[in-house]
Symmetry: C2
Subunit: 237 residues, 2 copies
């Protein structure tokens, strides 16, 4: 079995990395399974120890393997973390780039939220709402004390997207959220006065989803992004 | 200036990589600009040559730097290629995973296309249509000869998304397209009989966009994904 060629070929110079990928496939290893030892890989693939080390490092950067120091090397979760890293860094490359990158992320987040609205509302009919309610309460509470609520915000969005049963969409939401959160401090934005609006908008999103009201959900999603969009245009002016 | 912490921290063990990122920021280097030489990096960052090499390898895997062998090292394009690699590999991890991953990719592509419909139609009013027309003609032509038209298909989608002025959204479309293309051969799907429908649907999308008809554009987008969705459910059954 050979791996498909991709446009990412520029990063695939290391054939040892490809061989290790093939070994993962042919041995039918799953995320969390241990990889063979370094010595075994050298022998099986007939390559030097330094080639194996370099390949493992590359695969680790891509989250295809996971090196637990002192424990061994395992098949990784293949998350979108590498994308987050590159996007965050692109986002902070310059003050201008930062704003532009954040604006793009907000746009894509909004688009995904609106596009998945029906699926989220449908899935929300069978969800245990208590945890989501708890997260909304936490956000409202913190907003009242003038505090940010990044963790609760992220959990709310990824959990809500969890109901649609699309792992990729859920991961994307988490990844964009991370980029969003990492880039904001670079903008030097103060905690916005309308942080309460953002907190409450999450409650409106949840209510609408639980009530099976797709239109109200879409409206709440749009409201939810207004404070950050206002901050972005204030900085631009 | 310090880089924001992200959830991708697991991959950020290498502080030399972080130092090189900071150097890119503080020297205000842009994609395509040359990095300092290895010797200069060793001296500036006060680290060993092997640390610099390892860091450069990591950053290269993430497309944050670009090593042109025999030429030098440059600031990279920070593309979504690392994400494509991880997703493709997750997609081919098992026959079941392959189908499931492709289904998720198709779902997210459809969602993005629908969500960006208004922006695409708006942007299409000022676009030079000749190249897009040429791509549609090429797809219809190849479909008639029973050939696949992956390159033209990808170019069509990324160019059409180019009109909305969101670099991230355009990159995402290209990235998902690559995952899609790379995973399909793994499914062992024959060239579908309804390949003509897919080719023609691109023409309908373009006509609708140029005519400023958002509803017709959305309908054409939905039609455009039907053949692949049919293939996916046929394989599942």
């Amino acid at each position: 079995m050979s791996l498909p060629d991709t446009r990412g070929a520029r990063m695939r110079r290391s054939t040892t990395a490809d061989q290790i990928k093939e070994l993962i496939l042919t041995r039918d290893l799953k995320p969390g399974d241990p990889l063979p030892t370094e010595a075994e890989l050298c022998e099986t693939l007939d390559v030097s120890r330094s080639s194996v080390r370099e390949a493992i490092r590359t695969l680790s950067t891509l989250d295809i393997v996971n090196v637990r120091h002192g424990h061994g090397t395992y098949v990784g979760a293949m998350s979108l973390d590498p994308m987050v890293q590159a996007l965050v860094f692109r986002g902070v490359l310059s003050p201008d780039g930062s704003l532009e990158a954040l604006r793009e992320v907000v746009e894509v987040r909004l688009a995904l939220d609106l596009a998945m609205a029906e699926r989220v509302v449908e899935g929300a009919q069978t969800v245990d709402e208590s945890e989501l309610r708890g997260l909304v309460a936490e956000m409202v509470d913190k907003a009242e004390r003038g505090e940010m609520f990044l963790e609760a915000d992220r959990s709310f969005h990824t959990q809500l997207f969890g109901v649609i049963g699309n792992h990729l969409a859920q991961q994307l939401v988490g990844a964009f959220w991370d980029v969003h959160t990492a880039v904001i401090p670079q903008l030097g934005l103060a905690i916005p006065a309308d942080i309460h609006d953002t907190a409450r908008a999450h409650g409106d999103m949840l209510d609408a989803a639980l009530n099976g009201d797709v239109d109200a959900y879409r409206r709440a999603v749009v409201e939810h992004y207004r404070p950050i969009q206002r901050s972005l245009s204030a900085v631009t002016r």
